[in-house]
């Protein structure tokens, strides 16, 4: 049996089913992410594990114990909320000590433990500050420390970084991952940001419409999205029907939908001779738009009536191609992923 095992979790609100017989297994020390768009049921699943929502069906086992019907205070799970939910009337120290006080730890041990965890999050100088005296990033670190200090069986994180700016978010992602590895803590992280999920997760569960539609390691999911929803959600894949591909490339593809990563295609000038030198498929088109996405240039190409995206590394040695330019797009047949 896995460390965390959820079987057939089912939840319904009035007419809508939020969780449709969701099952998943998580091993001890793993950091997994529930990834999906708003309303897909990821937060409900997380809250059900915490005991903040009651399941209408199914079971939740953690460390061999069925916690499905226990109230939140007896589940021994930690949770970090999107809004942090720090207690405004308590200092950083008292916020972190709260869980230990509720568990009736001796005062001396509480002090030692809280001091240790405050050091771990590098906030020793802020121990007597109130939440409103801290920045967003500091508040989130306190919320994390408060959840970790009770040594929960699992730590649940409900979009904990979404309210922070990009720079702090990225540094906290790394910090969170380091803390998780150091403490070997089992964590379930909820986010709708696919980049964040890719950065921090051991495994990703992609949810849509109350179901898990794909699960696996980040690299596997990205390389092989398997279905159209995942392809579109995970990495702005080009998704074409076989007819569209046939029309653009002149090849004959098996019937179905195909996903193609924007970065596996290459752009060549229309009059270049590379077509004769390089085997593969060639698509003729015109550049309609180009946007800079940091280290990548994204071209929007129109090939006949079909629009496709091509990503190119943004390096100074290679200047950007102009809008309105006729080009040829090279594509390998191996990079066309047939979707289920």
């Amino acid at each position: 049996m896995s460390y965390v095992q959820i079987d057939q979790a089912f939840k319904q609100y009035a007419d809508s089913t939020v969780l449709k017989q969701v099952s998943l297994q998580i091993e001890k020390g793993e950091l997994v992410t529930l990834l999906g768009p708003s309303g897909c049921g990821k937060s409900t699943l997380l809250r059900s594990i915490a005991g903040l929502e009651k399941l209408d069906g199914g079971t939740i086992n953690v460390n061999g114990n069925d916690i499905s019907h226990l109230p939140p205070q007896f589940r021994n799970v930690g949770m970090v909320f999107q809004s942090y939910a720090l207690f405004p009337n308590m200092t950083v120290f008292d916020n972190i000590a709260f869980g230990l006080k509720m568990r009736k730890w001796p005062r001396k041990e509480i002090t030692d433990k809280v001091k240790h965890i405050i050091e771990l999050i590098h906030m020793s100088d802020k121990a007597s500050s109130y939440p409103h005296q801290l920045s967003g990033g500091q508040q989130q670190r306190v919320a994390l420390a408060r959840a970790l200090v009770t040594e929960p069986d699992i730590l649940l994180l409900d979009e904990p970084l979404s309210a922070l700016d990009a720079k702090i978010r990225k540094s906290l992602q790394i910090e969170l991952r380091n803390i998780q590895r150091e403490l070997k803590m089992t964590m379930i992280f909820v986010t709708h940001d696919q980049e964040e999920a890719m950065t921090i997760s051991d495994r990703i569960f992609i949810m849509n419409g109350g179901e898990i539609v794909r699960q696996g390691k980040p690299e596997d999911i990205y390389a092989s999205p398997k279905n159209e929803f995942v392809a579109r959600f995970i990495g702005s894949y080009n998704v074409f029907t076989s007819q569209e591909l046939n029309c653009m490339t002149g090849h004959s593809f098996k019937s179905g939908n195909y996903a193609i990563r924007p970065e596996v295609m290459e752009l060549h000038p229309h009059d270049s001779l590379s077509e004769q030198q390089k085997s593969g498929m060639w698509i003729s088109g015109i550049i309609r738009n180009m946007t800079i996405r940091g280290n990548v240039r994204r071209y929007t190409i129109q090939a006949q009536d079909i629009t496709l995206w091509v990503d190119e590394l943004n390096v100074p040695q290679k200047s950007a191609l102009d809008e309105g330019l006729f080009i040829k797009v090279w594509l390998s047949e191996d990079e066309c992923n047939l979707l289920e």
Partner: protein, 269 residues
């Protein structure tokens, strides 16, 4: 620049309109001789001395404080609990509670007083002529202020999320309420209680109709003495004004603190 002067003039006129009568009343309350001069010829605090040393006045103040105090304690205990439970666990009942607290606005004071006397003069519960009928009526009167204040406070502190955080950290519902929710509600409750208190000490209709001379409260006492002499009447008005002003000042201070809490909450979220 021109606009600024217009503003200053308008504000000054309004200020004079509001405060001149009050200033005149104050001057009259401390005037010893004042016949055909702009300002009094001589001054005395005898009217205040008479008022504050009158055992009936002090008794009436005590009675009002007692009635208001009991009402507010009952209201805070029951409304804080009820509003919290409805807000957290029975959101569908919120409409019922909202309709209930609107009753004092729908029923005029005189109608309520006559109705209450009729109901509680006979029958299984006889409260007529006791302070409990006034406490009951006052309890209903302050319901909207207590409810709105406490509900807004719960929303401001995001009580649901705080309670969830407390529970996940191992607190029972009672401990979560006592250690996390209640301390964050104190300012809001104090603000509501002060607002209710300022309404209760200014309320005359219910006090006069329901117990009147049986149990003379400050309102009834002041109304009776207003006709005795002008200086005393003026000192009564000024005393009343200063009391309400002091409560308003406290409310403003608390309001600012409440506003800060709201800012803090915004920062946190």
């Amino acid at each position: 620049m021109k606009k600024k002067w217009v503003h200053i003039i308008i504000i000054s006129v309004v200020f004079l309109y509001l405060f001149l009568p009050l200033a005149a009343t104050f001057l009259y309350s401390i005037a010893k001789e004042w016949h055909n001069t702009i300002l009094p010829v001589s001054y005395t605090f005898s009217a205040y001395e008479n008022l504050y040393t009158d055992p009936r006045f002090l008794q009436a103040v005590g009675r009002t404080l007692l009635i208001s105090g009991i009402t507010l304690v009952l209201s805070v205990v029951t409304m804080a609990t009820a509003t919290f439970v409805v807000f957290m666990y029975l959101p569908k009942m919120e409409r019922v509670l909202q309709a209930l607290v609107m009753i004092p606005f729908a029923v005029p004071g005189v109608v309520a007083a006559v109705g209450l006397i009729k109901v509680y003069s006979s029958g299984p519960i006889i409260l007529s002529g006791t302070i409990w009928i006034l406490i009951g009526a006052y309890y209903v009167l302050v319901l909207p202020y207590m409810y709105q204040g406490i509900r807004n406070n719960l929303r401001t502190i995001d009580a649901k999320r705080l309670m969830e955080a407390a529970e996940v950290l191992g607190a029972s519902k009672i401990k979560g309420f006592a250690f996390v929710i209640m301390p964050n509600m104190v300012t809001g409750i104090l603000l509501s209680a002060l607002l209710s208190f300022s309404i209760l000490i200014g309320e005359f209709v219910l006090a006069n109709f329901l117990i009147g001379g049986y149990y003379e409260t400050i309102q009834v006492y002041l109304m009776r003495r207003l006709n005795e002499n002008g200086h005393l009447a003026s000192s009564i008005v000024i005393t009343y004004f200063l009391t309400v002003a002091a409560i308003s000042w406290m409310m403003l201070r608390l309001g600012r603190r409440f506003g800060k809490t709201e800012e803090i909450k915004e920062k946190i979220s």
